[in-house]
């Protein structure tokens, strides 16, 4: 059954139709990639799903619930986590604190309990730390646990952002160009992690990506968009062989 249903989604900024009539659905446990040339509207689709933007028309359903009217801060609680193309982290905090902030929606204790540090708070805190340590181990971030984000290399910050998304404990994770700016080795790690997320953690992955080798390696289905409109949907091979996609994205005759 489909976890995420996007139906006839559109957003217009003045006269610019950034996204115009995009529909797709992502099945539970699927890795679904959105590809397209720069400015095709891929990140805008992410911003619409994560409720940063309000669509001009169309609906977004998650887990059977219409979330089109939800606020950006409601999304984490529903079980949707995301990363950003330009990395949005808490720069003046440590890696550990960034990941712990991912547990925000799971903190059920109130203000007075927090201040008094009651046993319930301590129990919860231990559980949050255990979950975060699992993420640190999974992404091999042990060496950076106590480091400030601001001083870390780009590739590590990119991984920390994935870590924070995992710390949220989501059902669906949106990865916005997880391989951009990464070396070949780092990209290979990302590919393994995505497979593990699906296989071991039972996550559904929706990603925007330019690196076609990564897309080919991990995705079940691909949606190609250009100028805010859908071009083709299918397996990675089908989509890349589609004549419209070749024309719009790769140039005629080229294949990645």
């Amino acid at each position: 059954m489909s976890l995420l249903d996007v139906n006839d989604l559109a957003i217009h900024f003045g006269g610019v139709k950034a996204v115009d009539g995009v529909s797709f659905s992502v099945d539970e446990g699927e890795v679904f990639a959105i590809i397209g040339p720069n400015g095709a509207g891929k990140s805008t689709i992410f911003n619409l799903i994560s409720r940063v933007y309000q669509p001009t028309r169309g609906t977004i359903r998650f887990d059977g619930q219409n979330i089109t009217g939800f606020k950006a801060h409601d999304i984490a609680g529903l079980g949707i986590a995301r990363t950003f193309q330009n990395i949005e982290l808490f720069d003046h905090s440590t890696v550990l604190d960034n990941l712990l902030m991912g547990r925000h929606t799971h903190r059920a204790t109130n203000f007075v309990q927090d201040i008094l540090f009651l046993p319930k708070v301590r129990r919860e805190e231990r559980e949050h730390r255990r979950r975060v340590e699992q993420v640190i181990e999974f992404l091999e971030l042990e060496a950076y646990r106590k480091k400030m984000i601001a001083g870390l290399p780009y590739g590590v910050r990119k991984v920390v952002e994935i870590g924070r998304a995992l710390a949220i404990g989501p059902k669906l994770i949106l990865l916005d160009e997880p391989a951009s700016g990464l070396s070949v080795e780092e990209t290979r790690d990302v590919a393994f992690w995505i497979e593990d997320m699906r296989r071991d953690m039972g996550l559904t992955v929706l990603m925007v990506e330019h690196d076609m080798s990564l897309v080919n390696q991990v995705s079940d289905r691909v949606l190609a968009v250009a100028n805010g409109q859908p071009l083709a949907m299918g397996t990675p091979a089908e989509v890349q062989a589609h004549p419209d996609v070749m024309a719009a994205y790769l140039g005629t005759g080229a294949a990645a």
Binding site: H73, E88, H104
Partner: protein, 291 residues
């Protein structure tokens, strides 16, 4: 002995600067903006407490009057954020500076039109009581001021360091987009912090009023408190208190031992020295900002 006497009075004064500075830091911590109406919020809080407590006004018992004033100021500040400040969300920092300076004028006018411009005295249970020992006289008001300030600073520090809302506020100040995505209702948290800073300002105002008469212009003390917050490093609560104490102590000491008008300039001279030598403030923000 004389010096010790000056220092004790200075510490109590410094606590008031520190408390107003705490308000600056709280709002800075949650929205990376400076609220220049902080001093006027202190003034308004003091007058509201006076309105609830003084016998010729509503005549409530002192403690109850202060509580009522804190609650009302929480509401007013919360409402100001909701209705006014939120309109400029996402605008350059400068917009907030101008807006809060204007808000300060509005608060002064409101207080002036309700309570007038002649100085009024807040009736407190510890007026005129002194403790003596070893040749030093300490007024009860000074002791209460120092005690309340310490308790409040620790409580606020714990609030930002340990509570869900406090951590959310710090997260929002570092990166709003990231805060949204982990589930922080950034706008709602901002309103709450404004409300809280209004309540803290009220405590500062009441303590100020225990030490002398108040009029609608006492909010100008906010400028000195801002210097205190800058000395401490705008993002640090203990730093704000320390900055306040430094200014509070330097003023009377300079007034006694230094020539002429140096005492009045001393807070700003210290601020300049700190800015030149440690631009991040005594407690640099990077070090203090932990989520």
């Amino acid at each position: 002995m004389e010096l010790l006497q000056l220092v004790i009075g200075g510490l109590a004064n410094g606590c008031i600067y520190g408390l107003v500075a705490l308000g600056f830091v709280m709002i800075y911590k949650s929205s990376e903006g400076v609220n220049f109406a902080q001093g006027d919020m202190m003034m308004l809080g003091a007058f509201i407490a006076l309105g609830f407590g003084n016998t010729d006004q509503m005549g409530l018992p002192f403690g109850l009057a202060v509580m009522c004033a804190m609650v009302l100021m929480f509401g007013i500040s919360w409402g100001v954020e909701r209705v006014v400040v939120r309109q400029i969300f996402g605008q350059p920092q400068f917009a907030l500076v101008i807006l809060t300076i204007a808000l300060g004028f509005v608060f002064r006018f409101v207080a002036g039109s309700i309570w007038g411009y002649t100085p009024l005295v807040l009736e407190t249970p510890f007026a005129g009581q002194n403790l003596r020992g070893g040749g030093i006289v300490i007024s009860l008001a000074d002791l209460v001021t120092i005690g309340v300030t310490l308790v409040l600073t620790v409580a606020l520090w714990a609030f930002f360091a340990f509570t869900k809302i406090g951590l959310a506020a710090q997260a929002a100040s570092q990166n709003q987009m990231a805060a949204y995505i982990v589930g922080v209702p950034v706008m709602r948290v901002n309103s709450l912090i404004w409300g809280l800073s209004g309540a803290v300002a009220t405590v500062a105002g009441v303590l100020y009023a225990t030490r002398g008469a108040i009029d609608p212009n006492i909010g100008l003390l906010g400028i000195k408190a801002f210097a205190a917050a800058v000395i401490g490093g705008l993002g640090s609560l203990p730093g704000a208190l320390l900055g306040g104490l430094i200014i509070g102590v330097i003023e009377p000491v300079a007034g006694r031992y230094a020539p002429g008008e140096l005492a009045k300039m001393s807070p700003y001279i210290i601020m300049l020295i700190v800015l030149v030598t440690r631009p991040g403030g005594l407690f640099s923000q990077i070090q203090m900002k932990k989520v």
